[in-house]
């Protein structure tokens, strides 16, 4: 019952720091590659910034392909990356911008 300041979980990483890390990880994504090519191409369809994720379960629940599964902490893992159709539902609904796609 607190005004103004509901619930934090403060992280020390700034969005910029965060971005750099993740962009590096996806640096050599093949342009125009489809998600279904993942297994071959070796670039994952999505990046998940666990640091920002609050384990709300939205991405997992809304993914039509059941690509994502919760880890021990309830945060998503790419359990079935090959099934991802890049429909964008997961990252569009992530309230914490904790998912980016390498293809869209």
């Amino acid at each position: 019952m607190s005004d103004e300041e509901p619930k934090p979980k403060v992280s020390d990483a700034t969005p910029d720091e965060q971005k750099v890390t993740d962009r590096d990880a996806a640096a050599d994504r093949p342009a125009g590659m489809k998600a279904s090519d993942y297994v071959k191409g070796g670039v994952p369809p999505l990046n998940i910034f666990l640091h920002w994720c609050k384990a709300c379960n939205l991405c997992i629940a809304f993914c039509p392909q059941k690509v994502l599964e919760p880890d021990r902490d309830g945060k998503p893992v790419l359990a079935h990356p090959e099934k991802c159709t890049q429909c964008a539902i997961c990252w569009l609904h992530c309230p914490d911008f904790a998912i980016t796609s390498n293809y869209k």
């Binding site: 019952m1 607190s2 005004d3 103004e4 300041e5």
Partner: protein, 380 residues
């Protein structure tokens, strides 16, 4: 509403205000949620409809105090509760309550300011606002409890003063007090005095809603009882009709002042601790008073002759009684959770030989006994 057997409860300060108000006979509550006062509205929303009382959550604080004044004129004991931003918004209509001599109670659970400030942190920085917040000339009554027990009893007293003097009364509590839980025994029915407004005993046609009486307090009829008077926020005569006649204007304003000034002894109230042989005194109110008592205990262990004074009534402060208390005192420390507010008043009131020191904290944290103890040692 009667309470038969002794009930011991753990209550938040805010909840204690709710039960105090119910004890005093509150029949109407209108409010708008704001941290850290919300539990008062929530308690009222739960309790009032169960007892046939009226609860309404208004669209804002301006509407809340307006509805309270409306209900009070319709005969209810009525109240609202808020915090700084809401208290600021209520100021215009609080002035209307002064002017129309409408009894009602406003609880301000203080948080850090100015502006939105620190919604979940403590402050005592609305002390001066409680006296001077609305425009124009008037005399304010404000009380300040320091425990759940006092939240209960001071709320009762606020209603009593408000009914007794036909005037709005402000209860100043704070975030820590509002949210802390404390064990207390709910007073039995009859244990505390409950005052109701004086009703007119004249025929309807003779009734004057703002009659000048020897006590300056006018008996008060309610809407719907056959009196059909007019109430106006314009400066008015004894019948409530707007006036522009200088003598009538002065009479009205004097009435607002004198009905309180004349009864200062009845209105003011102090708690003193270890003052009998003290050379140094700590004056504090609300949450800080508790740190002060603790500090005095600690200082006495160190054989420092220090005492504590806690005014329950902040406005009017009761300067004659206070000056009396300070006569044997060489140094007085005024400890407040603000940059120095009541200290201005103490400076004005203190005897010439009493040096006044200000101890202030305004970082959102409570005043600790150690801080006060340090200050005591510093001024010695």
């Amino acid at each position: 509403m009667t309470m038969q057997k002794a009930i011991v409860k753990m209550l938040q300060g805010n909840e204690a205000c709710v039960y105090g108000a119910l004890y005093a006979g509150v029949e109407f509550f209108a409010g708008y949620p704001i941290t850290p006062s919300t539990e008062i509205a929530e308690g009222m929303a739960r309790e009032l409809p169960r007892r046939g009382g009226k609860f309404i959550q208004m669209e804002d604080e301006i509407g809340s105090i307006a509805a309270v004044i409306g209900a009070a004129n319709a005969g209810c004991k009525a109240m609202t509760a808020t915090s700084g931003p809401g208290f600021s918004l209520m100021q215009e209509n609080i002035g209307y309550a002064y002017m129309t001599e409408t009894p009602c109670v406003i609880i301000n659970v203080q948080r850090g300011g100015p502006s939105t400030g620190l919604p979940t942190k403590i402050a005592q920085s609305d002390t001066m606002q409680a006296r001077w917040g609305t425009h124009g000339d008037y005399t304010a009554i404000a009380v300040a409890p320091s425990s759940a027990r006092e939240c209960f009893s001071e709320t009762v007293r606020a209603f009593n003063l408000s009914e007794r003097f036909r005037t709005p009364v402000i209860v100043l509590t704070d975030e820590v007090l509002g949210h802390m839980r404390e064990i207390m025994t709910i007073p039995q029915a009859g244990e505390l005095r409950v005052v109701d407004r004086v009703r007119p005993d004249v025929p309807h046609e003779w009734y004057r809603h703002f009659e000048i009486t020897p006590s300056f307090v006018s008996p008060m009829a309610s809407f719907g009882e056959g009196y059909r008077y007019n109430v106006s926020g314009l400066t008015h005569d004894q019948d409530g009709f707007p006036t522009a006649i200088p003598e009538e204007i002065k009479t009205k304003l004097d009435k607002l002042r004198l009905k309180i000034e004349r009864y200062i002894d009845e209105i003011t109230s102090f708690r003193t601790e270890m003052m009998d042989d003290a050379h140094v005194a700590v004056i504090s109110y609300g949450s800080v008073a508790r740190a002060a008592y603790q500090a005095v205990r600690m200082a006495r262990e160190r054989r420092i002759k220090v005492g504590a004074i806690q005014p329950f009534t902040i406005w009017p402060l009761g300067e004659i009684r206070l000056r009396e208390l300070l006569i044997p005192i060489k140094k007085v420390i005024v400890a407040e959770l603000n940059m120095g507010q009541l200290v201005h008043e103490i400076r004005r009131v203190a005897p010439r030989h009493t040096e006044v020191f200000s101890l202030n904290r305004y970082d959102g944290e409570v005043m600790t006994p150690h801080q006060i103890l340090d200050k005591i040692r510093e001024v010695l």
